[in-house]
Assembly symmetry: C2
């Protein structure tokens, strides 16, 4: 199957697989998957196994906790089933899925898990995995994304990564990387653990650092509650803060366009491209942070981030043949920068902090999106501060030198503006800002750009400073842009994915970039091999009672 | 084709594709590929394109320069053809090759290029690429491995990475990573460059940092000579040193074994395993470094390293179905440590330095070998210092607790010994020692192991210190080891490759690990996709006059 149309907008009233309970500073996210609630017919979500639909709800819950529940300081993730925490991604779903679907599913799941770690690290909402039964595969990987892992000690519950011995694939959502790089399980033990389908439990799982504690069932509830209270006590979240409602996102989708209030995308199927336009603020920024709280989900930065987040997810899942995203902005750069400044001046305000973190995560989503990104700065655009990041995330940036004489000879020439939002608050997965990444090994170039902060830069200056790739004039613009988009559509989509995944992340690697880079690339390779996905491969033979028939050559 | 039997032992008298000329402190390596000299029938090596055979000679030349020519301080790599430096890996060869062959070929080529960088960084032999004509694809990647790149400025010669636009694959030997992470080409420029099949030359190539200088043909010879002299002047190589001869390696190969003087491998095809045994020194170490020079290639550490290097290459190329390598040692640990100490006490001696560097590179080769590695420490073994590294490189280590009662009840129990060679001189590609990698995030564990340096550690101590994975006794040993090897043979070979590539490299990433990890994994994925290797894929359609027919879905 190549998958149905997927919609990522949900809210708790529509959850089929999760319960979200808030009790003062501690929230509990209970996974209780509806077996018959699969996104696609053809499989049952037994044993709390999940598909993309289950994860869409989890993502929504994590987001709402951050914005709607500032009082929450610790989040307990547990299971509503007896004896099983979560069996991981549903195997029949994986076996029946097209490669692109599997890869996109894993990417989204990874992003949600990174979001859980981001909430723990930067939002004062610490996640605790309360494994009241066995956590295998993706179930254990979900636990690995939590700060503290508790496993019930009952002689049968274990944690495991059975993908290699049972399915001939790798854990797809960061398991290998988190086992060694986050939990510091010794590599030879990690090797043994990952070949042992039944996993490890009890004291051995603790001794090997696979979990933090093993707790007898008799002491389970009280110990989980105590641990949640302890983690909550570490939080810097304010007392008595009031959340804002993440109101339903207005969206109009046709076969040729997706439109929100601030963001639109024209789907050009002939060109294999989506033409995305992001509008700057329609009004001045509120006078102070209290105004941001009053505007809530309507505050421009938050609203536009939510729309972009949804658009990225929608196009990734539903429009795989639109291989190039052309990104434009329109509006008043000054207003963009004013909104940025308001947020950055109030970073100790929980909501300002959350909005900036959400923008950071959304930009990271763009960084790992397997689409060619081309940003176009034209007269009337507002690539400044937070919106400039969308250009800096692009594979190429074109800025018009001058104006379109035929359209508006009196227009102000396009300008781009670097500002504080580009200099720290929005790091990429590699830990560097997009400017630091761009000027890797070129301290002088980076310093020159910093010195130009706050100044609108027309094409010649932006090109000289290295902020844009090309700066064609009116005469060359149309042809140069057209060729870039057409050429992109003529190249191998797979090779472009590999090229971009490498060029977007020069320099240092982190747990996050290793998961999206090295681990994912190996997993995708394995997914493509007959030993996994062929008719006699392990994924297809699983559950048939017949062993996989492997080509034994090591590659 | 799955490839012919490959032999890696060559010497300059047998070169078909390279000339090695030494003129005082400057050597010149001239690539002049014999079109009819392909390793396999079915393609012609036109335009200085290469196959594995060409690279085997290059590897040999780089090694000999280090050991046989201590007087050489700069190495000029250039072409013997008119107007063309090197067209990269031969495309017909790639198109006709099985996946495993392509991957193994790229791995070896990568290792040779890393060796060139290692010589520049640590041996005082700086490589200079003198591109007297166009360098495309792997040809440019060879140049990227050199410290300084000169391109003739003649309005036609360029450097290029045409893999993506022409072949629908990625540059396979580090090109993308070196362009951004070594040469610091801006990522958007790198993107444009890699989509432009014809490449870039002249001043633009310099401005974009793709090459270091563009030199008119009229000034070519003298400028290259001047630059080589300048690079040579920076070297710390001693004056008047005399090289040692890398005498022919004695090797006996049958269908069931490979035997050298110190190293043997039994090829157990039923078990899918190679049983490798490394013998410690048969005699005491020489009294001083002068004795090492006198022994030359017969000095144990160098001899055993050469044999292991050849064995690794042989088994990787010729025995892909032997998926597990079981590594044993036999001999006197004290002698191993004495040899180590002699080398480390004389690190300012060029030969001692070269031997340690060679050992380092050989161990790195093992780290990136796609075979499961299981080390067995039994009575009579000598896993100490340099040889202990082969256990630390393994995915698992088993050490017998006690002795084999039936075999020799009076034997000394197996011991392993950490020493200076494990604490710095042999870093992995990630920049850490194997011990630092093993104890990532566990400073206490690492300190305890350091404190135990020099002491032979029997099984209980070694297990407690975390140096071995399991320490079964006589009663359990055979069964536990047998199950480990059998189990390994039952798993998906592809999934094992992915698992090991991730678990062997926790922690930081470097240019080197990014090339073998992220870049290679993406490349392998692309190589497996119909868009590249299918009947209508770009690799197969190249040169037919028909365009590739791509599945346009982005993954």
């Amino acid at each position: 199957m190549s998958g149905p149309h997927v919609e990522f907008r949900v809210d708790p009233s529509g959850y089929r697989h999760w319960r979200l309970d808030v009790d003062g500073p501690v929230a509990t996210l209970t996974m209780d998957v509806d077996e018959d609630g699969g996104l696609v017919p053809g499989y049952e979500l037994k044993l709390n196994s999940y598909d993309l639909g289950v994860d869409v709800e989890l993502y929504d819950a994590v987001q709402r906790l951050r914005f709607e529940h500032p009082e929450v300081r610790a989040v307990v993730v547990t299971s509503g089933k007896e004896k099983i925490f979560c069996a991981g991604a549903n195997i029949r779903m994986l076996a029946a899925s097209a490669h692109a679907w599997k890869v996109n599913f894993c990417k989204f799941t990874n992003e949600t898990r990174n979001g859980i770690e981001d909430a723990t690290a930067h939002s004062g909402q610490t996640y605790l995995a309360a494994l009241n039964g066995t956590a295998s595969g993706g179930g254990y990987e979900l636990a690995l994304a939590c700060e503290h892992i508790m496993l019930v000690d009952d002689r049968s519950s274990t944690v495991s990564l059975p993908e290699l011995p049972l399915l001939g694939v790798l854990p797809g959502t960061g398991g290998l990387t988190r086992v060694t790089d986050k939990r510091h399980v010794r590599r030879d033990r990690a090797d043994y653990f990952s070949t042992r389908a039944e996993g490890l439990g009890g004291k051995k799982a603790v001794a090997w650092r696979l979990v933090d504690e093993a707790v007898p069932r008799t002491a389970w509830a009280e110990t989980v509650a105590a641990r949640a209270r302890e983690l909550a006590a570490r939080s810097s979240r304010p007392e008595g803060a009031e959340g804002i409602a993440l109101t339903p996102l207005e969206k109009t989708r046709t076969g040729t366009s997706v439109a929100y209030e601030h963001v639109t995308a024209e789907l050009d199927r002939d060109a294999g491209a989506a033409e995305i336009t992001v509008a700057g603020p329609a009004a001045d920024a509120p006078a102070d942070i209290a105004g941001v709280h009053r505007q809530g989900a309507a505050f421009w930065t938050l609203a536009v981030t939510r729309e972009l987040d949804d658009l990225i997810l929608d196009l990734r899942a539903n429009e795989p043949e639109l291989g190039t995203w052309v990104i434009r902005t329109s509006g008043d750069a000054r207003r963009v920068l004013d909104h940025d400044r308001l947020l950055l001046d109030a970073r100790d305000d929980w909501l300002a902090n959350e909005i900036v973190l959400y923008l950071k995560r959304t930009l990271k989503r763009l960084d790992v999106t397997s689409r060619s990104l081309i940003a176009l700065a034209e007269p009337g655009s507002c690539f400044a501060g937070s919106l400039l990041e969308f250009a800096l995330a692009a594979d190429r940036v074109y800025q018009l030198d001058g104006v379109f004489e035929d359209v508006d000879p009196d227009a102000d020439p396009a300008a781009v503006t670097v500002d504080a939002m580009n200099l720290g608050p929005l790091p990429m997965g590699n830990g560097l800002t997009r400017l630091e990444t761009r000027f890797l090994g070129d301290g002088e170039g980076l310093a020159a750009v910093r010195d130009a902060a706050g100044k609108p830069l027309e094409a010649a200056d932006a090109e000289r400073l290295g902020l844009v790739t090309f700066a064609p004039d009116d005469i060359d613009w149309d042809e140069e842009v057209r060729i870039a988009v057409e050429e992109r559509a003529s190249f191998s989509p797979d090779a472009l994915t590999g090229l971009e995944a490498n060029y977007r992340f020069p320099g240092p690697e982190t747990l996050e970039t290793k998961i999206f880079g090295r681990l994912t690339a190996w997993q995708n390779w394995i997914f493509n091999r007959p030993n996994a996905s062929g008719p006699e491969g392990a994924l297809r033979r699983y559950g048939t009672g017949r062993r996989a028939d492997f080509d034994r050559k090591r590659v």
